[in-house]
């Protein structure tokens, strides 16, 4: 089992900071990515501190997935600079990939394999030597409470269990940055909580940095150390959820409009405030909606 340390909720796990020579886990500067004429990511500046849980928030089509894919080296970095623990994502792809575990939006475990085989594959492709492979895989599965289901086919897993299996796949190679794209999409509330609890326990035990995208503001509020609100390829607000809410509260008081509105704004209110009026009439693009539906179907 992974040892759980005290000091929950701190932005700094065991060995979290200080061992990277001050480099941020992720730093993007001037990142721009366009599909044809549409700028999915538009001059994005972002730094994720080592050891924190950082939430990239925004509606469908905000550019979250594109930004994340640039960091994972799946997409090239046509404009700007992306660094992962100091390594240039455009030039040192192998070094970057070795440091990060990516959990895409879809439930990406291979349904034709057992849970253990799914994790073993990732142990192999991350060069875990044979003598410690079985042990490492067992520890990763234990860390996400899947030991009892390890030898069942992944096709029999529920959506939440598959998400946990994907966490184990990232854990087995001791990656230092875990990137999750909409990890709780399509999951029921109980599975969502469980997935977040496992993300947090893994983070506490390993000091892993977590970068997560979501459009569930309540989850970001509850589980992220810092959040960035993204809309139309740009970041509109950045800070801890408390800071962002307090700031809006103060602004509302200053504007004298607090009377007719809830005095304690939610993160969603903050989002509506910074994104402006364009939020409602612009949904995600077709591909986004389709992949979300596909995920929902697989989960269902």
């Amino acid at each position: 089992m992974i040892r759980r340390s005290a000091g929950t909720g701190s932005a700094q796990g065991i060995g979290g900071s200080g061992d990277t020579g001050g480099a941020d886990a992720v730093s993007c500067s001037g990142l721009t990515y366009a599909f044809g004429d549409t700028k999915a990511v538009d001059d994005l500046d972002l730094s994720v501190l080592t050891g924190e849980v950082f939430g990239l928030l925004g509606p469908n089509g905000a550019g979250k997935t594109t930004a994340i894919r640039c960091v994972t080296t799946l997409l090239p970095v046509p404009g700007g600079m992306v660094r992962v623990f100091g390594h240039d994502a455009a030039k040192e792809k192998m070094a970057v990939r070795r440091l990060l575990g990516y959990v895409p939006q879809q439930l990406s475990a291979d349904a034709a394999l057992t849970g253990r085989e799914n994790v073993t594959l990732f142990a192999r492709v991350f060069d875990v030597p044979r003598r410690e492979r079985a042990e490492r895989v067992a520890q990763a599965l234990a860390a996400v409470d899947l030991t009892g289901f390890a030898d069942r086919m992944a096709s029999t897993y529920s959506g939440g269990m598959i998400r946990r299996l994907e966490l184990a796949q990232a854990l087995v190679s001791a990656v230092r940055l875990l990137m999750l794209d909409e990890p709780t999409i399509g999951l029921d509330p109980i599975a969502r909580t469980s997935v977040w609890e496992h993300i947090n326990s893994v983070r506490r035990a390993t000091g892993m940095t977590v970068l997560v995208t979501t459009h569930y503001m309540d989850e970001a509020d509850q589980y992220c150390d810092r959040v960035a609100l993204m809309h139309r390829g740009r970041i509109h607000a950045l800070g801890t959820p408390d800071e962002l809410r307090a700031e809006l509260g103060q602004r509302r008081v200053a504007a004298g409009s607090a009377g007719d509105q809830d005095p304690l704004p939610t993160l969603e209110d903050v989002f509506r405030d910074v994104a402006g009026s364009g939020l409602d009439d612009e949904g995600g693009d077709f591909r986004d909606v389709r992949s979300t539906r596909r995920t929902a179907t697989r989960v269902g």
Binding site: I2, L113, A123, V125, E132, Q139
Partner: protein, 294 residues
């Protein structure tokens, strides 16, 4: 990369060990805090190929349906087509029974049919997120494609064994020389590697399953008929002989025939062509793989 965290974390785990709650029997070191040491250089490729082949074998172990259903078609070719044409004696086979002549062709054909599916499979894996996730591991594109290519070879090899067993049951006089059989295995694997890469290359161009299925259907039969799998090249019209000359399947069948039946063949040329085709296929498919990730 800094080596500091790897050295530091186990030490801190040790220090806190006394106070933290541990599950029974877990006094072993926590491996999840130590990143594995990276393989470098030439060792990466064989390691990834082994990983992909292992996955393929695991899948076959869980679900053998495909193994059985895929044995049906070659069995029918040999039983119905082979037996009938053996009686007709219409095809000049150089003095051997037609069914003997046909066996290597059917081995090559069934291997190709398996391999052609890999493009569809890689698009399916992309849609499911499996490919995306593998592309974010320290696996060069060429290693991932080679892994898939050889995995299709492993599958084709099992298929070849099935065909050989059926052929032996039908009384076909095949070689049992282990060296020659080894050569057969190499020819089957190289051929599968080429055809799976051809399919994955097309996948990288067309990007959707629907389009690829149409193209896959459209090319497999011509590749099969425009080769020496069913009849010798000599009886083809001139233009078809040219097509057959540039079809790697012909070289695969020629090699298989020479090895299994001892008929005259051009083994060095055959293996040379198959090797070059496989390498070119891997290069083409790897260079287009990135398109599937977008």
């Amino acid at each position: 990369m800094s080596g500091a965290p790897a050295g530091r974390r186990p030490a801190s785990a040790e220090a806190d060990g006394a106070t933290s709650v541990r599950a029974a029997g877990s006094d072993r070191p926590n491996l999840l805090l130590v990143p594995p040491r990276a393989r470098t250089g030439w060792r990466v490729l064989p390691a990834r190929v082994v990983a992909m082949c292992a996955v393929e074998l695991q899948k076959l172990r869980h679900d053998r349906t495909e193994l059985y259903t895929r044995a049906v078609q070659p069995a029918l070719w040999l039983l119905i087509f082979g037996e009938t044409f053996t009686r007709i004696k219409a095809i000049p086979t150089g003095g051997i029974p037609y069914i003997d002549f046909l066996v290597p062709g059917i081995i090559a054909q069934s291997a190709m049919f398996i391999a052609i599916f890999y493009g569809i499979m890689i698009i399916w894996e992309r849609d499911a997120g499996i490919l995306t996730k593998l592309l974010v591991t320290p696996t060069p594109r060429a290693a991932l494609i080679s892994g898939k290519a050889f995995a299709s070879g492993v599958k084709a090899l099992i298929q070849a064994v099935v065909v050989i067993v059926i052929a032996a049951a039908l009384g076909v006089g095949l070689t049992w020389n282990p060296l020659r059989l080894l050569g057969v295995a190499v020819a089957v694997i190289l051929g599968s590697a080429f055809f799976s890469c051809l399919s994955m290359t097309i996948a990288g161009i067309v990007l959707t399953r629907d389009r690829l299925m149409g193209i896959g259907q459209a090319i497999t039969m011509p590749l099969f008929f425009a080769s020496n799998a069913l009849y010798p090249v000599a009886i083809m019209p001139g233009w078809l002989q040219v097509v057959s000359k540039i079809n790697p399947l012909s070289y695969q069948v020629d090699a298989l025939r020479g090895l299994l039946l001892g008929t005259p063949s051009h083994l060095p040329l055959d293996f040379g062509v198959l090797l070059v085709a496989a390498v070119l296929g891997i290069a083409a498919a790897s260079s287009l793989l990135g398109r599937l990730a977008r």
